[in-house]
Symmetry: C2
Subunit: 351 residues, 2 copies
């Protein structure tokens, strides 16, 4: 059924003919065709909530580049939106929530949304993308991590100091634990619903966990990531459904992250992947980790960095090539083509 | 002459009666008296360039809290300004440079400014602060790191993707090396002039080195930091002048940083200081590393975190307590008082 399962095999550290590659935010603003569809949709949120258009943009990068996986086009804040916090996008400002959690009663009233009832548009998109892919490559489902979602839910948007959520953490840790507890339940149900709808792998994005102290990360992010791993559906449609966890800025805590129960760890570009592999051993696969800014460089520099990272990982399976963060809107798609080709070419055994 | 040399001794890993403490950006907007002086000065830049006012704000936090060091009040971008790039502050936007380096000829024409000729106002401030301190505590001089200064010089201001400087790094590394080379010479001359004017310790702030890949950090930041360490005046006024290097987000590279030739390493809050101490051994002292956001918490949480960090560092000298990044303008000064007192009290041997 699945014509290309190299990505799924690599996540499970099974032998593969080459190193698979996909790109975080691969359906995005660096692609002119994406911008055309988005203009047609109206807003970013309209695009996310329309399964036809979400399917269209999910497939766009696969038409251009021989990528080894597709990822559901959606927003990280669908869960808080389904919880009733009111997601919206202020022009040029990133996502915002109309009703951030600041008071005890708001926290006490928080409940996990039923995915079928409140997030049906996401599940519809998963099913439709899956049909459209027709087994070409696996489809990745995803969610934000509880701590990352809680950052938005408490701050009401992005932040450079996280003073509301960290103020809560160091003043009323009980309230933050309550938010994380409810959100963890929601994430498990949401990811399992995506798996039921057809997702063949899942990834949890812990974008902001790396802003915590080592001690606070364990208590307020990793503990909940581990609960999610334990609650995930592990087999669907006769296949194992691998899981990936990505804490941006989590390189110092790799050993702990590797013990959280996921099949693979996403790495940002600040860690040497050779050292990362030594530290985690055969416990998990690794995904990453080229600096997205390398794609602002020359095609020769892109090839050189791809070669350096593949060589640093070394022989043997268990590596999925990716950037260390989402691709920038200012990227030249030509350099993406160079990167994808270099990954495939350099990683095939020379015979 | 110096009534309190606990800070200098700790940097050199000599025995001290307690753990010394100072705070990055301790003269800043969280203090009402600072805001009053700043309003009187006109702009932030006027404040930096007026030795009387720079002295006044440098001393303000020392009048409130029993801190163990003073740090020169100045801006990180005085060197690019002296190079003719035109420093200014856009309202609510942070520092900007009018003429960022984008073309080859601009890079070729770059020269290191003579500190006496072009940065006299900083040296005057150092001398005046030193006189006003009257030996109460040591005075720290500082500079931005070559890579951090180059980020501003190429981007023209702050950035969240550093696409201009990283584009240069991955397209024309020769040009970036030329910028870093000239800037390194400038930083050495600038810090040595501060030492000659009276600074008793110096610190290099590598705010943006942590945004590089492990390999690029070594080549484009750490190599130049090591050249600075080798070029610093090591003794002045009959005393050793200790040096501190701080790469925010550099926790993964501690061993390499410890070998760069500085007496102490600044740590951000993402690393467990016990692990950091194990990794660097007796090679360097450590400075840090409480999350500035802990100060948004309750006084009890502040005390608890201070206790946790002191206990994690453990017995023996070589620890200077500090935050892991500059103090936030939204901090309640009452919590700063709690922190400073807790550091002193908890670190004194109980007899």
């Amino acid at each position: 059924m699945l014509k290309n399962d190299v990505f799924l095999k690599a996540l499970l550290r099974q032998p593969t003919p080459y190193t698979p590659v996909w790109i975080m935010r691969q359906a995005g603003r660096y692609l002119p065709e994406y911008n055309t569809t988005r203009a047609r949709a109206g807003s970013f949120l309209d695009l996310c909530k329309n399964p036809d258009l979400a399917t269209e943009v999910t497939l766009q990068p696969l038409a251009r580049f021989p990528l080894d996986a597709a990822i559901l086009f959606s927003d990280i804040l669908t869960i808080p939106d389904a919880m009733g916090l009111g997601l919206y996008f202020a022009e040029g400002e990133g996502p915002k929530l109309e009703r951030p959690l600041r008071n005890e009663w708001e926290v006490r009233n928080l409940t996990a949304p039923d995915p079928t009832e409140h997030l049906g548009y996401v599940l519809d998109a998963v099913a439709q993308i899956k049909r459209s892919l027709a087994g070409a490559v696996p489809l990745i489902g995803f969610s934000g991590s509880p701590f990352t979602l809680a950052c938005y839910m408490v701050e009401g948007g992005g932040s450079d100091d996280f003073r509301h959520i960290k103020g809560m953490l160091y003043r009323r840790p009980d309230l933050l634990h309550r938010i994380l507890d409810v959100t963890t339940t929601a994430v498990i149900q949401y990811l399992n619903a995506q798996i039921e709808a057809g997702a063949q792998a899942v990834m949890v994005f812990d974008t902001w966990g790396g802003t915590l102290s080592a001690a606070a990360y364990q208590e307020f992010s990793l503990a909940y990531l581990a609960r999610i791993a334990a609650g995930l559906t592990r087999h669907a449609a006769g296949r194992r459904v691998p899981s990936i966890v990505f804490t941006k800025g989590g390189g110092l805590w790799l050993e702990a992250i590797a013990s959280a129960g996921y099949d693979a760890i996403g790495l940002d570009w600040t860690i040497d992947i050779a050292q990362a592999r030594t530290r985690v051993g055969a416990q998990v696969a690794l995904q990453g980790n080229m600096d997205p800014a390398v794609l602002f460089g020359s095609p020769e520099a892109v090839e050189q960095e791809v070669g350096r990272i593949l060589a640093a990982y070394g022989p043997g399976s268990g590596h999925v090539f990716n950037l260390g963060h989402g691709i920038s809107r200012f990227t030249d798609p030509e350099n993406v083509a160079v990167m994808v080709q270099a990954v495939h070419q350099f990683s095939r055994p020379t015979t």
